[in-house]
């Protein structure tokens, strides 16, 4: 069924090379996008919980905007709209970024900022789920503000939300496919291109599906390993890896009001 992938393409490669190149772009978007999202998400999530009402409102604004506009619309805003809104010279400069970077960078930025809003909500939920006594004990020892967040609150909150972050990891690699709408030749785009060129739709989509499945499995297993690695000695395992289905559904996670299943 997949032998078509070994045939030569018009540009002298094999179709499987198209898929591999697509996988490369998908991984690049997901990996770098994740770190952008994680960095911003942690900062915004903390912002949601600080005393200062101005910072709190700012963090809330960020979350509401980036969470409530579909990622595809955000993709168009970064790619089509932003260069037009900037001063002409700057906009023109952006439009002249050579391919593939001209589409990759807006896509990366878009996925990072979108996912950051979701991570921020997880971080906030994790912080709010900590017992009040932790704050008080830190305060009683003279650890306040930055020191309390750095040494007491964040280390615990982040451990708590590892299971719920699993679905954000799976979310960002699936959302990389949205980048095909602005012309990034990632895995789904390549699969469609192969299907269009060879009419072997089963083989093309099937191969892409298998690759996505493998990615999901790797992402899930990685997060399980992280969960195990950062588990605090003496505490009960939050959730054992049961069976082969990778269900990272929130109801059973320790975070009460975390956001739900992503796709």
């Amino acid at each position: 069924m997949f032998t078509v992938l070994l045939e030569k393409t018009v540009d002298g490669q094999r179709y499987i090379d198209w898929l591999v190149s697509g996988l490369g772009w998908t991984l690049a978007l997901a990996f770098f996008g994740w770190w952008i999202a994680f960095a911003i998400g942690v900062v915004v999530g903390i912002g949601r919980t600080v005393q200062n009402p101005f910072l709190r409102a700012l963090a809330r604004l960020y979350v509401e905007i980036f969470r409530n506009i579909p990622v595809l619309v955000q993709m168009f805003l970064w790619y089509f709209v932003l260069p037009e809104l900037l001063p002409t010279t700057m906009g023109d400069w952006i439009k002249q970024i050579p391919p593939p970077w001209g589409t990759f960078l807006p896509a990366l930025w878009c996925l990072g900022l979108y996912t950051a809003a979701r991570i921020a909500e997880q971080v906030r939920a994790g912080i709010e789920a900590l017992p009040r006594g932790q704050d008080e004990a830190a305060a009683a020892l003279g650890l306040s503000g930055y020191l309390a967040y750095r040494h007491i609150i964040l280390p615990q909150a982040l451990r708590l939300i590892v299971p719920s972050l699993t679905s954000e990891v799976m979310g960002i690699y699936k959302n990389t496919s949205v980048a095909l709408t602005i012309g990034v030749m990632e895995l789904t785009a390549q699969a469609r291109q192969i299907s269009d060129a060879t009419f072997q739709t089963f083989a093309a989509f099937g191969a892409a599906t298998l690759i996505y499945l493998a990615l999901a499995l790797i992402a899930y297993q990685t997060m399980m390993l992280i969960d195990k690695a950062v588990r605090i000695p003496g505490t009960a395992p939050g959730r054992e890896a049961g069976g082969s289905d990778f269900d990272a559904v929130k109801l059973e996670s320790p975070v009460p009001n975390g956001m739900e299943v992503v796709k």
Binding site: G133, E136, P233
Partner: protein, 255 residues
Amino acid sequence: MQQERTVSPADPSPMVVVEHLVKRFGSFNALSDVNLEVAKGEKIVLCGPSGSGKSTLIRCINHIEKHDSGRIVVDGIELTDRICDINNVRSEVGMVFQSFNLFPHLSVLENCMLAPMKVRGLAESEAHQRSMALLRKVRIHDQANKYPAQLSGGQQQRVAIARALCMQPKIMLFDEPTSALDPEMVKEVLETIVELAQDGMTMVCVTHEMGFAREVADRVVFMDRGSIVEEGDPSRFFRAPNTERAKAFLNQIIH
């Protein structure tokens, strides 16, 4: 109100002065016009029915609760909203909580070392030395590398005491340190606190352990409905309280 002062030790300036303290939670008066003085080296036991404001009082002394009006002076520093004052006071005041509040993600040793290093700026080796010495003092040094969840409640509370002592506080506040413990573990924690008292530490302890109060306290302060109702020498207070409310309370906890 009964005024029955015990003789204060050599140093005349008090460790804690609380004057006309008022604390409200919404429309509920948790503390109304509370006055209390704690001399250096003095050991005070606070008791009273639940909701009487005794925990709120010692939480105000550490500024974990913000008071609404009145004055609190700890070791000469008045507690205002200025954050540096609050942190100055907090690092002089050690606090032990009912529910231990150890940091679960840090080992016993790390729990002790964190604040001395980050707040006091101690070098790691020095913090390590001090922590181990104090863990030895509460007889739990052989568990130094375990995590809180791997210890019994009594052990956790002794770690919490050592953690507070690592900041070399001038006064220790205990908020019902034994009431979350299984009965068989109460003794080991009380013994630790007694030893600390014998070393001359100033302390305010919220507790209903009367044997402990008799043994350690210089003064018993009885609170009810947000006010200090009666205070006095423990042997006299437990034998023959002056007020009806204290009588009723003592009857309840004995039976």
